[in-house]
Assembly symmetry: C2
Homo-oligomer: 197 residues x 2
DNA sequence: TCGATAAGTCAACAAGTGATGACTTATGCT
DNA sequence: AGCATAAGTCATCACTTGTTGACTTATCGA
């Protein structure tokens, strides 16, 4: 029936990581025990400490994500993408992401379910503000550009929250295309409100 | 030094409730122990079960909030308040609320720190969707009114999240008045996007 | 002043937590 | 084949968790 399961450190580590992602995504940090994760992965719980050091370290590895170039911090020089287009890309990336290996959700949304923990909040702040909203402000222009950029961030992460944490009916059912025009309109409205243009 | 502390059921219950609100607001459900709450209140932990039944029931009592009339479900008939004005009132009420007895924050935001628990998510959905966004959709009009109402909800709760959970720099520092115009503009933009007007 | 009743305290349990170190077993090289 | 080493397991610790029931003590009317 089941093959005797060859010993493979890398595969075991990967299985642990995947099981952790799913558990943490669904139940949050505190709602997940190391034994649950290990059981899902089909290995012994102590391997978590062998391979990752601690439950906390496993969590950090599980929600680690690379910000795609061109979405957050700009690498080269201006690509001349409009704020609306950038916001649209962020919505697709973060809110409507399909990540089977993270339990279907973007790590940022996964972290929201563990927002009771200070370290998680700190990472959220870092990734949202510095990772994603960093050059958004420059792109917007005006002297309260940072504030307006954070409002866009609030809209995006609020959408993610409504979809995956709160589970509001319409946003949960909606497709990226359905929200696309509405988001663009809201972001565009922000451009017409520069306090010093 | 300290008076012998007269026995008073009501006062003890109230002290427990206040301590619970503060603890839950800061550390979330899982990050708070019944002994912590009791210590803050200066009473024995077992009184929590005497007066509330369980930790979970205490939490529910602690985050219970009455939706002010005129903000959520409409009681009488149309007051003809514009969606922008309604959104503005909601921002003031939820995002910029000053509630010393809840640790300074609106219960909805307090609940966000305990979003790992399914019951908390269910209450959030209920209060946000049915409590606050209920008649917002009618007010907006158009055939995707519910979706647009939820986008406003996403913006509002996203703002609260950025301020009190994530702690983004600009929104945390900003005053209600500073965000007012921007929020109005974003909500107004949504009205120009009715898919069937 | 006595005593009933309500208010508050104490000790403890049963289950679960993350984490550790010693042990066993499979693997792959010589 | 045999052995060193890496991979995986087991028993268990030290601690915390929510919760319970029996106990003590203050309060207030008769």
């Amino acid at each position: 029936m089941s093959e005797p399961k060859r010993r493979d450190k890398a595969a075991t580590r990967a299985a642990l990581l995947e099981a952790a992602r799913r558990r943490f995504a669904e139940h949050g940090f505190d709602g997940t025990g190391v034994r649950d994760i290990a059981a899902d992965a089909g290995v012994d719980a102590t391997l978590i400490f062998r391979y990752f050091g601690s439950k906390q370290a496993l969590f950090e590895a599980a929600v680690r994500v690379e910000v795609p170039e061109g979405l957050g911090r700009q690498v080269g020089d201006e690509q001349a993408a409009s704020p609306e287009a950038l916001a649209e890309a962020l919505v697709r990336e973060v809110v409507f992401a399909d990540r089977p290996e993270h339990g279907g959700e973007h790590p940022l949304l996964v972290m929201l379910r563990s927002a009771g923990r200070p370290e998680v909040r700190a990472r959220l702040r870092e990734e949202v503000c510095e990772g994603y909203l960093a050059d958004f402000a420059e792109r917007l222009g005006g002297d309260d550009a940072e504030l307006r950029a954070e409002l866009v961030g609030a809209l995006l992460i609020g959408m993610g929250l409504m979809r995956s944490v709160i589970g509001s009916p319409e946003l949960s059912r909606a497709s990226f295309e359905q929200t696309r025009g509405l988001v663009r309109a809201m972001v565009a409205a922000l451009e017409g409100e520069k306090s010093q243009g």
